[in-house]
Symmetry: C2
Subunit: 223 residues, 2 copies
């Protein structure tokens, strides 16, 4: 057998992840055309897996495909930010309530990552920072024991990550985010569903308002 562990992934799977990452980080900007031939060459694949990947991302709401006209990166308007956070709050509130009812101990989801996040802030590694944020909330969602909810939230996180990359800077990213994460995890672990829901609401509304405040400074840009 091979010394190196063989990646069992198909080209479609890696391609979806790479393309999603490229859109999330702004390498392909909002409204930009995604020409199949160009993408296929850039990612060293043929058009078949590429088309499948585009269809998947279309399903996630990251790209828009018009028949015979091609794909573009979906534009993001300020209202999208409000709507997405509204939706995310509803989904994640359900998640933390269910997790609290089960007394799920999600505290290690913070302790493990808290100092890593601090280091990322220090070095300005924004992508790492956002990934840690997402991973924490993903663990929280998984604690709900509702796979369908986890899947729905997973789809929304693509959009959230796009917003973060587009509008957050080290100076904008709240320094006490991980403090809020800890309090949230504690409430869940103690079975305090109402407290967890309220902490989540505060956490998300402040995050959203921080983004919106930053947005007004720079004008209604669609990146």
């Amino acid at each position: 057998m091979d010394v190196l562990a063989r990646a069992p992934e198909t080209r479609f799977e890696t391609l979806v992840d790479e393309l999603r990452e490229a859109i999330l980080t702004g390498r392909y900007r909002a409204g930009e055309r995604l020409v199949q031939e160009d993408l296929a060459e850039a990612f060293r694949v043929s058009r078949i897996p590429l088309r499948e990947a585009l269809r998947r991302l279309e399903g996630e709401g990251l790209v828009i495909i018009s028949p015979n006209r091609g794909a573009i990166v979906r534009p993001l308007a300020p209202k999208d930010i409000v709507d997405l956070y509204d939706l995310r709050l509803a989904l994640e509130t359900l998640a933390v309530r269910r997790a609290a009812e089960r007394y799920a101990d999600v505290r290690e989801a913070t302790t493990r990552r808290r100092e890593e996040a601090a280091a990322a802030v220090e070095s300005g590694a924004l992508t790492t920072l956002f990934r840690l944020d997402r991973d924490f909330h993903a663990d929280l969602a998984a604690a709900s024991d509702n796979p369908h909810l986890v899947a729905a939230l997973g789809g929304q996180w693509s959009q959230i990550m796009r917003i973060m990359h587009a509008y957050l800077r080290v100076g904008t990213y709240a320094p006490n985010v991980w403090q809020e994460h800890s309090g949230l995890a504690d409430a869940v672990a103690h079975g305090d569903a109402d407290g967890a829901a309220e902490r989540l609401r505060l956490h998300l509304t402040t995050s959203r308002d921080r983004i919106l405040a930053d947005l007004w400074d720079k004008g209604p840009v669609s990146r």
Copy 2:
């Protein structure tokens, strides 16, 4: 120009709808293998648009694709029913609250369809009945003015329709569903967010319990 309105749809789009419909109505049953060559022949298309359609349905959670092993119709366990209704309640509660805040008049969404549904019950046209049900709730969701929420709910409805087709009969389908729809639409139109949310909760929990009760009769079938 042509007399007949030309369908501007691509094969992928029609294929997704046809395949989804086939799975929803049980033509392909849970766990059944979906062989690409066979499907391509059955729907008179080549494998490329077929693969794209399967990827889309995989994203909707209707099929499961294993690398090099092919696609199957996703099995539905009783816990899935509970989880899906839990998720749906959270999403739709947000929708009706937002709709109520806007005093959205969704009452014609019931009046138009109420007698049509009664006729469908009479003639035993279950598929028509389910479609009317979905259309009402889709109108309700649209009244929230949150496209992302509408999209999320749309994805969940594929699963809900599967459950309905699998477990509901004319005798099981509640006769006063459309009465509840009317009350819900009235509350929304009067801007009574709390009342609408409570009516929705009752509507969905009774629907769910009816399905679960029917399920225990027949045993834990995965159709």
